[in-house]
């Protein structure tokens, strides 16, 4: 299977309360084995998925947020976060997990995976994508 398509995963829901965020991450990780051109977009309450320092222990629901740190190892390093959704929720880039990847073309230099985007850039992301999965 040599076809490479541009996949965009749109994550719009909070990490807890519903299972969508967790099961979306499962698709992303399985999908990584197919070596496609993968982008992740977090918007609306989906931005809460990336907030650092999550503690879900009182709810007995697993805190799966550490898994996002592994995305770079899966070559998933194009992670877009809607700036407006962050601002509406009183959040900034500093509140999010520091997600990084190592660029093998630059002697494994560590680079940031998260890029803040505005709504017009989101339109372009969706326009470019060949496969859009929304969760």
């Amino acid at each position: 299977m040599s076809t490479i398509k541009q996949f965009l995963y749109v994550n719009r829901k909070a990490p807890y309360g519903t299972v969508y965020a967790l099961e979306s991450l499962e698709v992303v990780l399985i999908g990584a084995a197919f070596e496609q051109d993968v982008r992740l977009l977090f918007m609306d309450d989906g931005v809460f998925q990336l907030v650092k320092g999550q503690d879900s222990s009182d709810s007995e629901i697993k805190n799966f947020s550490p898994t996002y740190n592994a995305l770079g190892d899966y070559d998933i390093n194009k992670i877009y976060v809607d700036k407006q959704s962050l601002e509406e929720r009183g959040l900034s880039l500093d509140d999010l997990l520091h997600l990084t990847w190592e660029d093998e073309d630059e002697d494994w230099a560590e680079k940031d995976s998260i890029v803040l985007v505005d709504r017009s850039e989101i339109v372009a992301l969706m326009d470019d994508a060949e496969v859009v999965l929304s969760f």
Partner: protein
């Protein structure tokens, strides 16, 4: 055109399975190809043959089975999502030490790779759900 259909919500609670069914049926009638229908999240609950709706309500499950038989549809239920929600065929049930199975005719249980493959192989991946 070649489609893969993703159904993310359960029957009756949500209309997405009804909408996905009508879309799939209409696409087939128009001569399009359905590469695969993939059931994920609570969408896996569309694959139980034990559903018993009231007599004055529609049956959401059986039409999928009938459509699959008529058009040789490939209807795949995500194994991880199905295990969480108690949807199992005879093999899965036995493997997990359960005393019953409930997968409706025309559905098969497989992995998430089938969804990704659907995205790669199809002209359009259409997602039904919120």
């Amino acid at each position: 055109m070649k489609f893969t259909i993703q159904v993310n919500e359960g029957p009756y609670t949500h209309q997405s399975s009804d909408s996905a069914y009508h879309f799939t049926k209409a696409a087939l009638e128009k001569g399009h190809e359905i590469f695969r229908v993939f059931f994920y999240h609570d969408g896996v609950n569309n694959a139980t043959r034990l559903t018993t709706p009231p007599q004055d309500d529609r049956n959401v499950i059986t039409p999928w089975s009938e459509l699959a038989e008529k058009h040789n549809l490939d209807m795949v239920v995500c194994v991880a999502a199905a295990q969480r929600r108690g949807i199992a065929d005879a093999d899965e049930s036995k493997r997990n030490g359960k005393d019953a199975d409930n997968l409706a005719p025309g559905f098969r249980i497989s992995g998430l790779g089938q969804l990704i493959e659907g995205g790669i192989q199809s002209d359009r991946l259409v997602v039904f759900g919120d």
